[in-house]
């Protein structure tokens, strides 16, 4: 199963990262799932694919009662993000899934009904969890054309979906980025190929540069902390994206 790691805790506000399953078959891309808890209410960020549901569920339940998860945030429509939706709904048919309006008619093919989905408008929206409000930050075309990140002003954490993702080789797959220059080599190819728009990239860089971020948590790879967040934004701003080779 995966490991549940508490990456932030203050009062009754908590972030749990569900990471690194040693039994994951190598034909599935590795993913990170995050659970944000506030006052016994919780939202699950990018719950992952069908195949890894057992690993996520079992790790999660070591830290939190999965029946109390009231909401799901899906950064976009990909199978590694949200194809497990129907399984989560088995446990709690009342679950709400926040996703870009662009995908609100597509993702129900994975499960759920009219009541399940809360469409996020292009400009973003606030999502209440316990006593906190999390902010869905527009990140369109990075890589999905209807794409959001989630910012938590209390924890100062940005969940950045596929942005910041790195495909880490065994032995270099720690939860946190240690050596930025070493790490970023494993992110470069991914960002060049998956991120499609220079304009969208620059928009995102200037948008998140204004946020007070202490941790940036991607859906694949390792978490950026402190100064590494700024370094990532600078690196990304300079990187040429939307290229097949080079």
């Amino acid at each position: 199963m995966k490991t549940a790691r508490v990456i932030f805790e203050e009062d009754s506000h908590k972030w749990i990262a569900l990471v690194r399953d040693p039994n994951r078959p190598d034909y599935l891309i590795d993913t990170n799932e995050y659970l944000v808890i506030d006052n016994n209410d919780a939202i699950l960020l990018d719950p992952g694919g069908n195949e890894i549901f057992p690993a996520v569920f079992s790790a999660l339940s070591t830290e939190f009662d999965p029946r109390k998860i009231r909401q799901i945030f899906a950064s976009h429509q990909d199978p590694d993000i949200i194809s497990s939706l129907s399984l989560w709904l088995e446990f709690n048919p009342e679950l709400k899934c926040h996703i870009s309006w662009l995908w609100a008619g597509f993702v129900p093919h994975f499960g759920g009904n009219k009541e399940t989905f809360v469409a996020i408008p292009d400009g973003g929206a606030d999502i209440a969890v316990g006593n906190q409000r999390l902010q869905a930050i527009p990140a369109h075309y990075l890589h999905s054309s209807g794409n959001f990140h989630l910012y938590d002003p209390k924890a100062k954490i940005l969940f950045s979906g596929d942005v910041g993702a790195a495909l880490l080789p065994p032995g270099e797959d720690g939860l946190f980025v240690e050596d930025f220059d070493r790490h970023i080599r494993h992110a470069e190819g991914f960002h060049r190929r998956w991120m499609g728009s220079e304009k969208a990239k620059n928009d995102w860089c200037s948008r998140v540069a204004q946020l007070d971020i202490e941790m940036m948590c991607p859906q694949h790879g390792a978490i950026y902390r402190g100064e590494q967040v700024r370094r990532f934004i600078d690196w990304f701003a300079r990187l040429e994206v939307g290229v097949i080779r080079g």
């Binding site: 057992p54 690993a55 079992s58 339940s61 070591t62 999965p66 399984l87 088995e90």
Partner: protein, 201 residues
Amino acid sequence: MAAVTQDSGVELRRIVRTNEEIKSVVATASRINLMAMNAIFLAKRAGQTALGFGVLSNELRRFAMDLQKQMALLREMTYGSVATVTALVKQARVNRVLERTRKESGGSGLTLIDEFMRTRHGASSVRHREQIAALNRRLNQMIADTAQLVELGSVLARSAKIEAAYGGPFAAALMQVSSDFERTIGTIQRSLENLTKQQDV
């Protein structure tokens, strides 16, 4: 739990087999209508020399129309059973993932998933057994109805063959038509027998 998953697999394959057999019955039955039209046409040409055959050809035409209606019902039924089968496949898949989740879980997670699987399994397996039973009942009834109807067609075909002999210069042609009829109905009867056998297994 593994047994339930396997059962639904067996059940699914059986339903798929049944549907394929029904499809072949429907395809054969669609030829009957054309044959009946042909028989009426021939009877008209034969006129006074084949009055008996003329009466029978009208009966055959009515039979062909009834058979078509019955086939429409069977097709609808097939469609309905595919929907049930799909739901079962989905349930079986969920069951498999839950079983894997159970194996990976410990502590409170394990308790939770055990409890969930018990209630879910109890409720869904009863529902599934009921659904499958209802499906089978309806199917058996429909196969029996169809067999009865086809038996009537078979009697008509035999009578037509007898009448054909009195068709004078048209006797050979009439014989040909009624033999085709009899053969086709025979094919349908064999398919229906297969279906009945499959239901009994």
